[in-house]
């Protein structure tokens, strides 16, 4: 089918054609503006393009659409070309929007991951501060040793115990670890047998995932050890006092009888000097024993440790914390 220009009886056909072309230009202009306005609203843009397809296809009923629109009139082909241009622009915008959406999605995911990471870091920092607080509050000393045995970290108690009160902890100050095998528990006495010696419990453990590092737990049990010793001594003394109390009662009865018999012997002896002297020795000895028994009974009653030790001649251990109580 060919579409040669047709003449009209009234001769106005060229004018109508020009008018149609102007209308088409105006419409193309309107659609182009619409597309620009809807470039960020893909669904709206697609609806607009589909409307345009519907309208323009309705204007071309029953037309075969082939390469180059060969079968269409120039005006119809022009309408389709404009439509195709719109569709191509819309498709390009859709593709760009898809890429932009993907980028936004990735940026959002990245921002979300960053926020999660920041939150996790904050949590980890808070947990670390809490852990530091706990470690600082512990009475037990904790040392972290590197594979070379050097002290990498120590909590305050660890520094205090390992260095004997000094702040720093160096390898020489923890030379006592040489006597404790890795993985073992031991008690270590530092400073000789005098009163300044200290008794420590030491536990060496491999640090999980620590690449040869280990953790050392230290506890200064000097005071507790002395307290236990002192308690044992007091328990022993208490037992002695209780035995003395029983013994005093048991000795006192026969002693009273002995004194009475000695006095009776003196009355019956008359002037026999030998008997009188023997009776006097018996009486004096019995009196001394009675006084001793009374003294013991008084001490036992008062529970005075120093007096008992003096009477029994028990030596008190010496030392800054080991004095009698």
């Amino acid at each position: 089918m060919t579409h040669a220009p047709q003449s009209s009886p009234d001769g106005h056909e060229p004018l109508r054609s020009l008018e149609a072309e102007i209308q088409e230009l105006g419409r193309v202009h309107d659609v182009a503006l619409d597309m620009i306005e809807r470039s960020h609203d893909l669904d709206g843009l697609l609806d607009r393009i589909l409307d345009e397809y519907e309208v323009r296809l309705r204007d071309l009923p029953g037309q075969a659409l082939g390469e180059g629109y060969g079968a269409l009139s120039p005006a119809a082909a022009g309408k389709l070309r404009a439509l195709v241009m719109f569709a191509a622009e819309a498709a390009a915008l859709k593709q760009k929007a898809a890429v932009a959406g993907e980028l936004r999605s990735r940026a959002g995911a990245l921002a979300e991951a960053n926020a999660s990471l920041a939150l996790a870091l904050t949590d980890a920092e808070a947990a670390r501060r809490e852990l530091d607080g706990v470690l600082a509050a512990l009475d037990a000393g904790i040392l972290i040793l590197g594979p070379d045995g050097a002290v990498r970290h120590a909590n305050p108690a660890g520094r205090r115990i390992a260095a004997g009160g000094a702040e720093g902890v160096d390898r020489p100050s923890i030379a006592f670890l040489d006597h404790v095998p890795r993985g073992a528990d031991a008690e270590v006495r530092l400073g000789g047998d005098d009163g300044d010696s200290r008794l420590l419990t030491v536990a060496r453990r491999d640090l999980d995932g620590g690449d040869g590092c280990e953790v050392v737990l230290l506890s200064d049990i000097t005071r507790r050890s002395r307290e236990i010793e002192e308690r044992h001594r007091m328990e022993k003394l208490s037992e002695i006092l209780r035995a003395l109390s029983v013994l005093s009662h048991k000795i006192n009865n026969p002693l009273t009888s002995l004194l009475g018999r000695a006095q009776m012997l003196k009355a019956m002896a008359g002037t026999d000097p030998k008997v009188l002297k023997s009776a006097a020795v018996i009486e004096e000895s019995a009196t001394r024993i009675a006084e001793l028994i009374r003294e013991l009974a008084r001490v036992v009653k008062e529970g005075r440790q120093e007096a008992v030790e003096k009477v029994l001649n028990i030596e008190t251990p010496s030392g800054p914390e080991g004095g009698a109580r």
């Binding site: 296809l57 037309q63 659409l65």
Partner: protein
């Protein structure tokens, strides 16, 4: 009745019977029957495997079906595109707007996880 339909897994499949052309002779009937079937309760696969020829009116029918489904917030896929139909769609660039699949099964499978277009208000 030219348009046949069946539903499976939430997808409405439309196919054409008794004609191998989607042109001005059948377009009005096809459009009316198909629009009656597109109720907005399912995504749509339009199976064009039996269509060898399509003119501008037939293209207009496809555009109308596409719009109708979109108005209800549903997606449309076109499947079984023959060379004659593909040529027409390519000439007027609708191949860049429509989503074309080799067969109805792959078109239906492609609906899984695809967000729906916004339903028209009012």
């Amino acid at each position: 009745m030219i348009v046949r339909s069946d539903r499976s897994l939430g997808v409405l499949r439309l196919r054409f019977q008794g004609t191998d052309a989607l042109d001005t002779l059948v377009a009005a009937q096809v459009k009316a029957e198909a629009l009656d079937l597109i109720l907005g309760d399912a995504d749509v696969v339009v199976d064009l495997s039996g269509i060898a020829f399509m003119d501008s009116t037939g293209v207009g029918v496809l555009v109308s079906l596409f719009k109708a489904a979109r108005r209800n917030g549903r997606n449309v896929r076109f499947a079984g595109i023959t060379p004659g139909v593909r040529l027409v769609l390519e000439v007027i660039k609708l191949d860049r707007i429509f989503e074309l699949y080799p067969d109805a099964a792959s078109a239906a499978a492609a609906f899984k996880g695809v967000p729906r277009p916004p339903a028209a208000c009012g």
